[in-house]
Each structure stands twice: as structure tokens, then as C-alpha cells.
């Protein structure tokens, strides 16, 4: 019998009816009277100086209403790492130089899309081509062309994490391995492309409806880039068709639409085409990994050394965070007495790389779990056993980095071990590979340099007991609107139906950093819980007075019934008390306020979720093709607030993470992405999707609301590693580069055969 009324129950998403009836209006669907359609002209060259932009022909086009170039901006560079100005390196609308194929150079607004496109064709841009560099291993040399002024060796960011003494530890190891891996890029492929509808009115106020993961970031960054006050900008996230890390930075659709609207004082809508989405937004950071691992013969891991070079692309974006996190999560989820990480993010003349679900951890988990299996085989130890021996436990401290409170990793290992045993003997050419992971519940480091609390919420209780919840949290499909409404209802003691959530509208909601790094449930959940508790306290004051119980009696609200905890039949309806509470406060509405910022929780995150995934593959050794048969995940994410939501996140993550392992890639030639269409970008569809099973482990995270922590991103981490290990188990070949394509498996099998023949 659950002690909770709302959380933990299976509910319909609060935005469900709108979505299943097609009534939900995304930015993609919105129009305003007098609206113009905008389009962006982009550089066809990977690296060039802009000598001149001649817009005169385009200006004469009938129906063309406004054109902007870099000259129309205030000349600022922006970046999401505002704390470090040198990392704010992106003009968006380029003034003097372009740094990748797709870098914007001009934008137009016209009466219809066809005219806007025609206008783009009429703009003449004179470029002076510069030598370009595409591979970070080449870009980090003296001979490489310099992409950003003053940045030697194109070294964008470097990070170092260390504890213990790795150099000393090797001699104590019985086995040391060195391995290299290459992690590929990946496109977010949100179903709704980046889009914005900007309306700069005659009061000099800007309203922007946009598909985004952080209405607040867009508001703040637009303020920076337009030179106007945040308070004069209102950013609204109506419904958003997916984010996955692609939509919390200021993008070209938002900036150009705002700039155009500012110039012409009419609403301007820009929707990026799917091709622009693939080539001119941001993508997962490709990484070159060098790992050294040392262990004792009983499987105890003694030392790990990690060196990573990442392909930064043309601008920093969130790449600095991915660089740090990949190094941090390379130490997950095991206890290393000695650890060292050196990461280098290098500019290249390619599409910028930034944040994508998992944030550097899918890469670190793929390489780490692959190497760990290789070490286990060398030592003759079972893969589960070696993970058990070294796995993190509750209340573990990652030296100098993080405090781990709840941790259900070992229970997850047990469940997966059981699952594999139950599966029994596998058919030929089948293999089960496992991977363990841990992930954060939101980040601590304030790289955005905000002075706001990281999450805030306001609750207003109306005379009829209906609750308005105002939060800056962004619903992007991950279910935050539902989860936060559930937390609110539970804390307040009412039903989910009583809550009406207003989210991600900077005009009416308090700031929240956004939906990234898996932060909404824990961070915003805590803010919502605090606000609900605040409102509840105000109601309870009146209830206590009304009921006149013994001062030692506890009171609570549950299912709209305010009652004595020990005598639940003695109470009063929540609705009645609300009326009296408002009257009693001179008619003042009941407002509850809450906020949350992690304090003294280490460098990375206030809480971490853990899990173990087992992937079963069936390989066709004659062709190298393999089928993803089954992916079973044991995971723990503290108290489960929204079970339907978590299941959805988990299964969906497998589609994305499985794709990262199996087929998704963005091959390039001289900086040009070769497959910028859904027909050519391979991803998992329903016929390719494996059977999925979820094994839930019960844990409780003290830091989270009702004990909850993240469940959106961590699940993207293990699948590529599990697949790599599964393919090895099935047919004995190890692929250390992503994606693990049938051709790679085939070639490896041929090589293995050839080696056997030689012997």
C-alpha cells in the first residue's frame, strides 16, 4: 500500500489530450496576423573571410520586407558559458568570418516562404577562402589554420581531473591495458526542427515563441545579443517537439527572427528545414579516446588514465560541459583509487558540437565498458563480477568531485545477472553484453553565470481550490509538466486534476535553467515541493485554527482532506479551508514560493542515478549484420514519481542510444555532412527496435523531491557499450569505433579468420 496518493501512480500526461487530438500548437503551427516568413543564408564554405555582402538585388524583390546581416547586430559574441567570456565565441550572424558550412551570413523576411527563398538566391556574398581543417587531431597542430583569433593550436577548452597518483599505481597492477576508441557524431533528430516566431512590437518589447529546452536561457541570451533588457523580452515555449540537448542555446532561427522583427516591427517566423537541422545546428561531440586501465589479478581496479581529444566544431556551445562530463563520467560507476583525466576540445571547421542526451557520458560509457570487458576477459573474471568488485556504493565520495548518496548499482547488477541466467543457453551467434552507468541529476557548476536560483516555482491557490503552478521548467516531451504537477499535488494533498501548470513562459513564470542534464525532476521538483509546502502551510494555519485540535496532534492534507494524522476521520475539506483562508487574509490570494539551488553538493551534481543494461544481439556472421534482439535495463532513479513517464524515457533512450551504437552517423567530406536528410541518416524504426524490458530497483535519494532523481539521460549511456560487448560475446570481434556497423563487423570477422588461417 503506497504511502503516496499521486506520485507513483500511472496517470495520463497532463498534456496528453491536447497531443492525441492534434490540438497542441507547437511553434511550428503558430501564426500571427501580419506575419512574415524568414529564411537564412548560410556559408557554403568551411572557412572564409566575408569580404562583402551585396543585398541590393534582393531588396528589389517584391514581397521582400527586411534583410539583416552581421552589420545589423550590435557586434557581440554569445555563448552559453557566460562565466568565461573567451568561450562566448559565436556571433550567430557572422560579421567578418565564417567557420563552418552552414554558418549564417544573412537573413531575410518576406510575405511568403517562396519569396524569402528567392531573396536568398539574390544575395551576393564575396568570400575569401581560407584553408580549413576538419580533424581535431590535425587542428591541434602548429600547421593548422587558426579558426578563432588568439586561440593557439585551436585549443578551445581543456580540462583536468585527478586524484590519487596514477603514475605510481601502474607498478602495483598485475594487468595494464591501453586502448583507443573513436566515438562518432550523432544528430538529435527532433521531430520538430528549430523554429521561432518573434514579434518585436512598437513598445520595444520582444515576444518570442520558440521550440526550446530553456525559455530563460533564450531570454537572457537574446537580451545580451540585442542589447536590450531581459525584462523587455518574453520567451514562450508553447509545445516543443523534442530537444535532446539541441535546443537550449540561442540558435539562428531565434536570433535572426528577433533581429528581423526588430527591424521591420512585424512578426517574423523562421522554421529551419530538416537539412539545416542536420547541418547548421549543433550535434553530439565526436571524441578520440585513449584509455589506460590497471587492475590486480583479482579484478580490483587500481588506476585509470584517460586522454580525450574532442572535435569541437566551429564554436564552443555546450562543448565545454561535454568535455568535463566525459572526463568525470569516465570514472563512473566504479571506485578508482587513482584516476587522471585530461581532455582537450579542439576547434575544427565543422558544424559545432555541443550537448546531446548523455552529454559526453554515452561516449565515456561506450569506451569504458568496452575496455572493462576486455580487462575482465584478460583476467579470466566474469563481467558482472568485475563490476561488482569495483562498483560504487551508497555514500561514496568521488575524491574532490562528488558525493554520491543513494546508489542502487549493486542491486541492478544482481537483477541483470538473474536476467542473463534466466535467458539460459543462447542460440549460436547470439551474445549478451552488459554495460553499467551512472548519471547526474542536473549540474551544479554555474557556467551560465545566472544570479537566479537554478529552479523556481510559484503556486497560486484559487478560491475554488484549483491550483495554478507557475514554473520555468520546460516540457519538451520528457514529461516534466506531468511530473511536476504530480509533485505539487502530492505535497499539497490534492488531486492531479486540481493542478494547472503554466510552464516556460518568462513573462509569467519564474526562471528555471531549463530541461538539460536531467535536472527538471530533482531541481525543479524540489522548487515545486517547497512552493507547495509554503502554500500548504498557509492553508494549514487556518485549518488548525478551525479544527482546534490538541497542539501535539499532527495535521496533514491528503486527497483534498485536511485531517489529523492519528484520527483521519476528523477533518475538513480542503476546498472549505481554502475559501476561509483567503477571506481570512483580507481576500489575498494564497501564494506559495519555492526555489532550489544545490549548495555544497560537490562539483558536478546533487544526485546520481545508476543502472546496468544487458543487450542481446544475433549476428549473421556471413554479412556482419546483427539484430538487436532484446535490451533489458535494471535501473534505479530513486522514488518513481511518474512510472509511465520513466518507462517512456527508458524505452526511448534505447532507440537513441541503440542508434548511436548501431547505425547513426554523420560522415563528412571536407566539412560537408554527406547525409543531411532523414532518407540518408539511418535511425532505428519500429521494425528495427528490440524487445525492451525494464527492471526497476527501489532506492531513495535524500536530495530529491520525495526521494526522486534523474531518469532521462543516464539511460542513453550504456547501449553502445552493451552492443559492443554483445557483438564480442556473439562472434568474438571487438569494434572500437562507433557506430558498430555490419560492414565493420564483417571486416573484423574476415580479419579474424585470416589470422586463424595464418596460425
Amino acid at each position: 500500500m503506497s504511502k503516496y496518493s499521486v506520485i507513483g501512480t500511472r496517470v495520463h500526461r497532463v498534456d496528453g489530450p491536447e497531443k492525441v487530438t492534434g490540438s497542441a500548437k507547437y511553434t511550428f503551427d503558430l501564426t500571427l496576423p501580419n506575419m512574415l516568413y524568414g529564411k537564412i543564408l548560410r556559408s557554403p564554405h568551411p572557412h572564409a573571410k566575408i569580404l562583402n555582402i551585396d543585398t541590393s538585388k534582393a531588396e528589389k524583390l517584391i514581397g521582400l520586407k527586411a534583410i539583416v546581416t552581421g552589420k545589423d547586430t550590435i557586434g557581440k559574441k554569445q555563448g552559453i558559458w557566460r562565466r568565461f567570456p573567451e568561450l562566448c565565441d559565436e556571433e550567430i550572424l557572422c560579421r567578418t568570418k565564417v567557420r563552418y558550412i552552414g554558418d549564417p551570413v544573412a537573413a531575410v523576411a518576406a510575405i511568403d516562404e517562396a519569396t524569402a527563398e528567392e531573396a536568398l538566391d539574390l544575395i551576393e556574398v564575396e568570400y575569401e577562402l581560407l584553408p580549413a581543417v576538419f580533424n581535431p587531431l590535425e587542428a591541434i597542430t602548429e600547421e593548422a589554420p587558426q579558426i578563432h583569433e588568439g586561440v593557439e593550436l585551436n585549443l578551445n577548452v581543456n580540462r583536468h581531473i585527478e586524484w590519487g597518483n596514477v603514475d605510481d599505481a601502474w607498478k602495483d597492477c598485475d594487468h595494464v591495458r591501453e586502448d583507443q576508441f573513436v566515438c562518432s557524431s550523432q544528430a538529435h533528430m527532433c521531430m520538430e526542427t528549430h523554429c521561432a516566431l518573434a514579434s518585436f512590437d512598437y513598445n520595444n518589447k520582444l515576444t518570442v515563441w520558440t521550440s526550446t529546452q530553456s525559455a530563460y536561457y533564450i531570454q537572457a541570451l537574446l537580451a545580451d545579443m540585442l542589447g536590450i533588457r531581459e525584462g523587455d523580452i518574453r520567451v514562450i515555449n508553447p509545445y516543443t517537439g523534442g530537444g535532446f540537448g539541441s535546443k537550449f542555446e540561442l540558435d539562428s532561427a531565434q536570433f535572426c527572427a528577433a533581429l528581423l522583427s526588430q527591424k521591420i516591427r512585424r512578426p517574423v517566423k523562421i522554421v529551419l528545414s530538416r537539412e539545416e537541422e542536420f547541418t547548421a545546428t549543433k550535434r553530439r561531440t565526436p571524441m578520440y579516446y585513449f584509455l589506460k586501465l590497471g587492475a590486480k589479478k583479482d579484478g580490483t581496479l587500481l588506476a585509470k588514465e584517460v586522454r580525450v581529444i574532442t572535435e569541437g566544431g566551429a564554436y564552443t556551445g555546450m562543448g565545454a560541459t561535454a568535455l568535463y562530463l566525459t572526463g568525470f563520467f569516465s570514472s563512473f560507476p566504479y571506485k578508482y583509487p587513482n584516476y587522471r583525466y585530461d581532455g582537450y576540445r579542439v576547434y575544427t571547421n565543422t558544424e559545432p558540437t555541443s550537448a546531446m542526451r548523455g552529454f559526453g557520458a554515452p561516449q565515456s560509457t561506450f569506451v569504458g565498458e568496452s575496455q572493462l570487458d576486455m580487462m575482465a576477459e584478460e583476467l579470466g573474471i566474469d563481467p558482472i563480477e568485475i563490476r561488482r568488485k569495483n562498483g560504487m556504493t551508497p555514500n561514496y565520495v568521488v575524491p574532490g568531485q562528488a558525493f554520491i548518496q543513494s546508489c542502487g548499482l549493486h542491486e541492478c547488477l544482481d537483477k541483470i545477472e538473474e536476467h542473463i541466467k534466466q535467458r539460459g543457453k543462447l542460440p549460436p551467434n547470439h551474445g549478451i553484453g552488459i554495460a553499467s552507468y551512472g548519471f547526474m541529476s542536473g549540474g551544479i557548476f554555474n557556467w551560465f553565470d545566472t544570479s537566479y536560483a537554478f529552479s523556481s516555482a510559484i503556486i497560486r491557490i484559487n478560491i475554488d481550490g484549483k491550483v495554478d503552478l507557475f514554473t520555468g521548467a520546460n516540457e519538451i516531451g520528457q514529461g516534466s509538466n506531468t511530473t511536476l504537477s504530480m509533485i505539487c499535488a502530492e505535497e499539497l494533498g490534492v488531486k492531479l486534476d486540481d493542478i494547472r501548470i503554466h510552464s516556460a513562459d518568462t513573462g509569467i513564470c519564474p526562471a528555471d535553467l531549463g530541461a538539460w542534464g536531467s535536472r527538471e525532476t530533482l531541481m525543479n521538483g524540489n522548487a515545486v515541493k517547497m512552493a507547495a509546502a509554503d502554500a500548504k502551510r498557509q492553508i494549514m494555519e487556518f485549518a488548525a485554527a478551525k479544527l482546534g485540535g490538541n497542539i501535539t496532534y499532527d495535521m496533514d492534507i491528503k486527497d483534498r482532506w485536511i485531517h489529523f494524522v492519528d484520527r483521519p476521520e476528523r477533518g475538513i475539506s480542503y476546498f472549505d479551508v481554502v475559501k476561509e483562508a483567503i477571506r481570512g487574509k483580507d481576500g489575498e490570494v494564497i501564494i506559495g514560493r519555492g526555489h532550489y539551488t544545490p549548495h555544497r553538493k560537490g562539483m558536478i551534481s546533487p544526485a546520481y542515478s545508476f543502472g546496468v543494461q544487458a543487450a542481446e544481439v544475433a549476428v549473421d556472421p556471413e554479412t556482419g549484420k546483427y539484430k538487436l534482439v532484446n535490451v533489458t535495463t535494471a535501473h534505479e532513479s530513486g522514488t518513481v514519481i511518474n512510472p509511465v513517464g520513466i518507462e517512456g524515457q527508458l524505452e526511448g533512450a534505447i532507440m537513441m542510444a541503440g542508434g548511436y551504437g548501431y547505425c547513426e552517423d554523420q560522415p563528412m567530406d571536407e566539412g560537408k555532412i554527406l547525409n543531411p536528410s532523414i532518407a540518408d541518416y539511418k535511425l532505428i524504426r519500429s521494425l528495427d527496435m528490440p524487445e525492451t524490458k525494464i527492471l526497476e530497483i527501489d532506492t531513495y535519494e535524500p536530495e530529491g523531491p520525495f526521494g526522486a532523481k534523474e531518469a532521462g539521460e543516464g539511460l542513453t549511456n550504456p547501449t553502445a557499450g552493451a552492443i559492443a560487448n554483445a557483438v564480442y560475446k556473439a562472434v568474438g570481434v571487438r569494434i572500437n569505433t562507433l557506430p558498430i556497423t555490419p560492414e565493420k563487423v564483417f571486416s573484423a570477422l574476415r580479419e579474424k579468420e585470416a589470422k586463424k588461417k595464418k596460425k
Binding site: T21, F28, G242, G479, S686
Partner: protein, 159 residues
């Protein structure tokens, strides 16, 4: 030169004049204001624009509106009967078969067409039925569970 187009959408007859290059999805979204049907690509691959045309699931971004003269079109807006949702819509709600919701109208139309043609599909046939639709959020299995529940008769439509 614009062409006359007479078609029925969600049971409602319309008389339109359209530029022949107008795609069916553009006619539905821009001329009739039915924005439930979405567009997610420019190469007829994502399925977000799926509607039912004369009983068949089709990609409305890959059909000229003028080719639908005299036809009957069903979009996501036509699934519910007033406030009464269709069995599939209810099943989607119960099973959490959507997250961001952008692919959902297309998924609902593809599955509605599937069940209209074959009320008792196997699991493999259900997968095939939605293979033309990409979902980046759910991993498809919750959609398959929802359809299976409808097939099993868990959502008998009230007449």
C-alpha cells in the same frame, strides 16, 4: 493558374482553389487550419504528415492536393467524436505512447488505418504498420502496446 479542388475532410465538404503545386499537407494546414498534421522532413521519410485518404494511410507531404479531388480525407482532428476520443487515442493516453507528441498525429493515423484494414494484426504487422513513422521519443514499443490493447478489445467503442 489555380485549380478547383473539392474534397471532404473529416466529414466536412470543402471547395477550394489551389495552386497545383500545393501539397496535400499544405492545403490541410494552411488553407483549412488543420495544424494537427505535421511535417518533419523534406524527403518523404518521417511519416509525421500521415493522413488517411480514401481509407488508406498516405504521406500528405508526398501528394499534390489536386490529386485528391473528390476524395475523403481523415486527419487527427477527425478521430474524436466531439469529446469522445477514439479507442486508439484512449489507448495512447493510457500507455504513454507519446512524449513530445509531434509524431503522434501521424502515428494515430497510421494505426487507425492499420486497424481499419486489419482489425486483428499480429505484433509484426503492427510494427510494419508504423514502420513508415519515426518517433524519436518513445522507442515505439509503447505504441505497439497501445495498439495491441485496442486489438484485444480493451477499448470497445461506445455506440
Amino acid at each position: 493558374m489555380k485549380k478547383e479542388l473539392k474534397l471532404t475532410v473529416n466529414g466536412q465538404p470543402y471547395e477550394l482553389y489551389v495552386d497545383p503545386k500545393t501539397l496535400l499537407v499544405e492545403a490541410l494546414r494552411n488553407l483549412l487550419g488543420l495544424t494537427g498534421t505535421k511535417r518533419g522532413c523534406n524527403c518523404s521519410s518521417c511519416g509525421a504528415c500521415t493522413v488517411i485518404l480514401n481509407g488508406m494511410a498516405v504521406k500528405s507531404c508526398s501528394i499534390l492536393a489536386v490529386q485528391t479531388n473528390g476524395a475523403e480525407v481523415l486527419t487527427v482532428e477527425g478521430l474524436a467524436n466531439g469529446a469522445e476520443l477514439s479507442p486508439l487515442q484512449k489507448a495512447f493516453l493510457d500507455h504513454g505512447s507519446f512524449q513530445c507528441g509531434f509524431c503522434t498525429p501521424g502515428m494515430l493515423m497510421a494505426t487507425t488505418a492499420l486497424l481499419a484494414e486489419n482489425p486483428k494484426p499480429t505484433k509484426e504487422q503492427i510494427k510494419e504498420g508504423i514502420d513508415g513513422n519515426i518517433c524519436r521519443c518513445t522507442g515505439y514499443n509503447s505504441i505497439i502496446r497501445a495498439v495491441t490493447a485496442v486489438v484485444k478489445g480493451e477499448y470497445k467503442e461506445e455506440k
